[in-house]
Symmetry: C2
Subunit: 246 residues, 2 copies
DNA sequence: AAGTGGTCTAGACCACTCT
DNA sequence: GAGTGGTCTAGACCACTTG
C-alpha cells in the first residue's frame, strides 16, 4: 500500500492538531480499515501519511490508547483492541469460594420476536423490529447463580439464531465475535435492587420475594451502536462491589 | 528561594527518568512542601531544579495529574489537589426527586472510645487505640435516608471531638480539613446488601428486616494513611449505580 | 539485523491569566 | 507585558520483538 497523503482538515478550529489527528484515526478505525485485533501501520508511516511530526502522531495515539480504542505493544506495534471477552458481570458478585471460575451457561429459551417498545428503545431500533431473545441460567458447581435475558437486534445476529446453542461456549461475547463478527467494545451496567418474582425464584432455587441484585446492561460496538440489551438477576446477598474515588 | 539543584538518584534502574522524577515530586508533595490547594513552582523552575529537560518534567507532571495528585491550569500554574469535598456517597443512591441536593446531617452520638479490634484493623492502628466514633442520620426534605457510623483516629481528630457539632456543616470532609487539617485524597467504597436491624430500621423509619444497601468506606490522606472508616446504610430500593466497562 | 514503540532533548511558538 | 502551561517540531538514542 502506498502513502495516502491524507490531509488534516479540522472543522473545529479550536481543536489541537493531535486532537484532530486522533479523531481522524478513530474514524479510520471505526470504518473498519484495521479490524479489531489487527495491527495498524507504524508510527513513522502514520506520521508521514498525515503529514505531522512523530511526536504529534504519538500524542494522538496515546489519547486513543487512553480511551481504550487501541493497544500499544513495545517492539511489536499498535493494535486495534479486540472486543471485551471476559465475564465482566462477575465483578458484581461473589458466589461460593469466589475463585475466578466462569459459570456454566444453560440456554433456557431462544426466540425471534418483535421487540417490545422498551427493548426497541434501549437498542435504538424502530418500533416492532425483529430481535433475538435469549434466556439463560448460569451455574457454578451445579448451583444456579444468575438468571439472564439478552435482546439482540436482527438480522445482525442471524448466525446466532440459526446455530445450535449446544455448540456455544459459556461466554456469549466470543460467540458474537466468531459467529456474527460483532465486537463488544464498551458496556454500561446499571445496578439496582429488587425482589424475585415467583418464576425467577424457582429458577434460581431461592424463595419467592427474596432480595435480588439486578444488573441492566447496554453493550456497544466500536461505532457506538447498541448491540445488546441484557438484564441479569442474582441473589442480593452475593452482591459485592468496590469503587475507588479520587 | 534559590534553586535546590536536586539530584535524581533512582534506586530502580529500570525506571525511566520521568518516572523517577514523578516519584521524587510525589515525595515532596506528600512531605508537605506544597500544601493541598497551593501552587507548585513553574515548569521551568522545577526542570532546572531537577536538571531535566522541560519535556521530561512535563511527562512527570502529567502522570501525577493522571493519578489525581495535582491539577494543572493553563496560564495559572500547577496546584496540589485539595481533598475530596462533595458528597460522594450520594452517587450510590437516588432519593426522592434525585436533585443534587445535599442531605441535612443530624449528629446522633459522638464518643471517645477504645477502638474495637475490627476498627483498629481497618484504620491500621494498634489494638485499643482511642478513636472518635460519630453516628449521624442524614435527611432529605425531613425524610431520613442514610444512617452513618464513622470512626476517626485520635489525637488527629481532637479538634473535632472538642468542638460543638451544631457548628458543623452537613458535610464532614470540609470540617476535617478546616478543623483538623486532614485532607481526604482517596476513598474506597465497598457496596454490599443486607437487612435492617431493629434500631436501624427505627431510625430510618423503615420496617425491621427491610433490605438495605451498605457502603463501607475507607478514606485516605495524601500520604496513604487511613484516616476514616465509615459504614453507611440506606434503603436498598433507593440504590442505583452505573458502571462503564471498557 | 531490521523494525517497532519508548525516552529524552532543545527550542520555537501559541493560548491563557493576571496586573 | 510578563508569566504560566499547551502545542509542535526534529532528531538522537534506547529497549523490545522477531526473523
Amino acid at each position: 500500500m502506498n502513502s495516502p497523503r491524507l490531509q488534516l482538515v479540522s472543522d473545529t478550529p479550536g481543536l489541537s492538531r493531535y486532537g484532530a489527528l486522533a479523531a481522524a484515526l478513530r474514524a479510520r478505525i471505526v470504518a473498519g480499515e484495521w479490524p479489531p485485533g489487527t495491527a495498524m501501520p507504524s508510527e513513522q508511516q502514520l506520521a508521514t501519511d498525515h503529514q505531522v511530526a512523530l511526536g504529534t502522531l504519538r500524542r494522538a495515539l496515546e489519547s486513543l490508547a487512553a480511551q481504550g480504542l487501541i493497544e500499544r505493544v513495545h517492539g511489536k506495534g499498535t493494535f486495534v483492541r479486540a472486543g471485551l471477552t471476559g465475564s465482566p458481570l462477575l465483578r458484581f458478585f461473589r458466589f461460593g469460594q469466589g475463585t475466578g471460575e466462569v459459570p456454566v451457561s444453560r440456554i433456557l429459551a431462544r426466540d425471534r420476536i418483535a421487540a417490545p417498545a422498551a427493548i426497541s428503545r434501549r437498542l435504538g431500533l424502530g418500533a416492532g423490529t425483529q430481535v433475538l431473545r435469549l434466556r439463560r441460567l448460569r451455574l457454578l458447581q451445579g448451583q444456579p447463580c444468575l438468571l439472564e435475558e439478552a435482546w439482540l437486534p436482527l438480522p445482525l445476529f442471524d448466525a446466532l439464531a440459526d446455530s445450535d446453542p449446544r455448540e456455544w461456549g459459556d461466554l456469549l461475547y466470543p460467540e458474537y465475535a466468531s459467529r456474527c463478527g460483532v465486537h463488544v467494545h464498551r458496556a454500561v451496567d446499571e445496578v439496582s435492587f429488587g425482589t424475585l418474582a415467583a418464576t425467577q425464584a424457582r429458577q434460581l432455587a431461592l424463595p419467592a420475594g427474596h432480595p435480588s441484585a439486578v444488573v441492566s446492561r447496554h453493550a456497544f460496538d466500536l461505532a457506538g451502536r447498541c448491540i445488546e440489551a441484557r438484564t441479569s438477576v442474582g441473589d442480593a446477598h452475593a452482591f459485592h462491589y468496590t469503587v475507588t474515588i479520587t
